[in-house]
C-alpha cells in the first residue's frame, strides 16, 4: 500500500477513508469467470434442448455471450454506479471488493472519474436491458434480432473507444503495475472489443445480404 493509504496509481490520488480490500483476487475473479462459463454452457444446453434444432450453433454460442454480457451490465456494473462510497464502506460486499480489485487496473473507478461514470450510466441504462432483449430476440428469431445485436455491439465498441482514448489523453497512468495494465485494463476489456467486433461484422453482413436478396427478388 502506498503512502496515501491506498494501493492505487497515481499514488497522490486522495481517497479518504479507504478501507483495504479483504477478498483475494481469486475470490473476486471466481464468481465473474463462473458467470461467464455458466452463461455460455447454460445457454448452449438449454437452447439445444428447447430450441428444437432451429438455432444454428453460432446463434447458440451468441445466446451465451448475450446472457453473460447482460449479467455483466445488469448485475456486476450497477453496484459501482449506485455505491459512491464503495471504497470507504465498513462492511464492503462482493461488488465493492470487485471494483476495488478492478481499480488496480484503472484507478479512474476508484476516483469516480466522470467519463467512467458517464459510460457506466449508458451501459447500465441501455446496453444491459438491450442485451437481455437480444437473448429473447435470438431465441425467438425476431426480425429485429440482427439490428439489435449490431446496435448493442457498436455501442460496446464506441464505449471502449471513449474509455481507452480518454485514458490515453488523461495521462495513461492509472494502473498499479504492467500486470494490472495487461490483465485488467487491456485483458478484461478485450472481450468487449473482440466479441462485439465479430458480432457487429456478422450482423452487418446478414443485413446487407437480406437487402441483396430483396433486390434480386424485385429485379
Amino acid at each position: 500500500m502506498g503512502g496515501h493509504g491506498h494501493p492505487y496509481s497515481p499514488a497522490e490520488l486522495e481517497l479518504p477513508g479507504f478501507v483495504p480490500q479483504r477478498l483475494s483476487q481469486g475470490q473476486i475473479l471466481a464468481p465473474f469467470v463462473g458467470t461467464a462459463v455458466f452463461s455460455v454452457l447454460g445457454a448452449w444446453l438449454i437452447s439445444g434442448r428447447c430450441g428444437g434444432g432451429r438455432l444454428s450453433k453460432t446463434d447458440r454460442l451468441l445466446l451465451g455471450w448475450w446472457v453473460f454480457t447482460a449479467l455483466a451490465h445488469i448485475v456486476f456494473e450497477p453496484p459501482f454506479l449506485f455505491t459512491p462510497d464503495f471504497l470507504s464502506k465498513e462492511n464492503p460486499n462482493f461488488f465493492d471488493e470487485m471494483f476495488k480489485e478492478y481499480s488496480k487496473g484503472d484507478s479512474r473507478y476508484a476516483s469516480r472519474n466522470t467519463v467512467v461514470l458517464a459510460l457506466e450510466v449508458i451501459t447500465v441504462g441501455f446496453k444491459g436491458p438491450a442485451s437481455l432483449l437480444a437473448v429473447y430476440a435470438i431465441a425467438s428469431r425476431k426480425s429485429y434480432s440482427h439490428i439489435l445485436q449490431f446496435a448493442v455491439s457498436l455501442s460496446q465498441l464506441y464505449g471502449c473507444l471513449v474509455y481507452f482514448i480518454t485514458a490515453y489523453l488523461d495521462g495513461f497512468n492509472f494502473w498499479v503495475s504492467p500486470f494490472y495494465f495487461w490483465a485488467y485494463f487491456i485483458g478484461s476489456n478485450s472481450s468487449w472489443v473482440i466479441i462485439p467486433t465479430l458480432v457487429a461484422t456478422r450482423s452487418w453482413k446478414k443485413i446487407s445480404a437480406a437487402f441483396q436478396a430483396e433486390k434480386v427478388k424485385t429485379r
Copy 2:
C-alpha cells in the same frame, strides 16, 4: 470579458495567451448555416436531375443531411482537433474563431477537456468518412446503405449522450449565459440528436422489414 482575460465560464478557467475573438457571431454562423442550406439544396437538386427518379424524396433529403454532417465532421471539426493553440494564435483563421465562439456555449472546447477531445477523435476519424460513404451508399442504392446509416446515427447519438452526461457530472457550468446554453450547447447539438434518432429509427424499421420479408418468403 472576465477578470481572467477571457469571456468563458467558469471565470477561474486559466487560458494563458488568449487572443480575443475578432469575427462576430453572424460572420461565424453564416458559413456554417450556409453549408447546411447548400448541402440540402444541392443534394436535392442534383439527385433530382441525375437520380433518374430512382431515389425517394426521403432519400434525397437524407442525402442532404449526410452531405452536411460529413462536411461538419470532415471540414469544420478537424481544425479544432489539430490546432491545440487555437485560442492563442496571433492570426486566427475562421475555424479558430468558430471554436472560440462555440466555447461560449461549452468552455470544455476552450480548455481542451479530454472527453471532448476523445469524442472529436472518433467523430473526425470514423463518423466523417462514414457519413461520406453514406452519401455514396444512398445514391448507388447499396445493400449496406441502411446498416451504415444506422451505424453512424447510433454513433452520433452515443457521442451526444457521453457529451451531455459528462457535462452534467462535471458541474454543468460551461456556458457564458442561458442564451449560449440554449443556443449552442442544446440548440446546435439538437440536430445531432433529433435527426440521427429519426434516421436510426427508419433504418431499424427497414432492416426489420427486410428480414420479415425473407421470413415470409421462406415459409
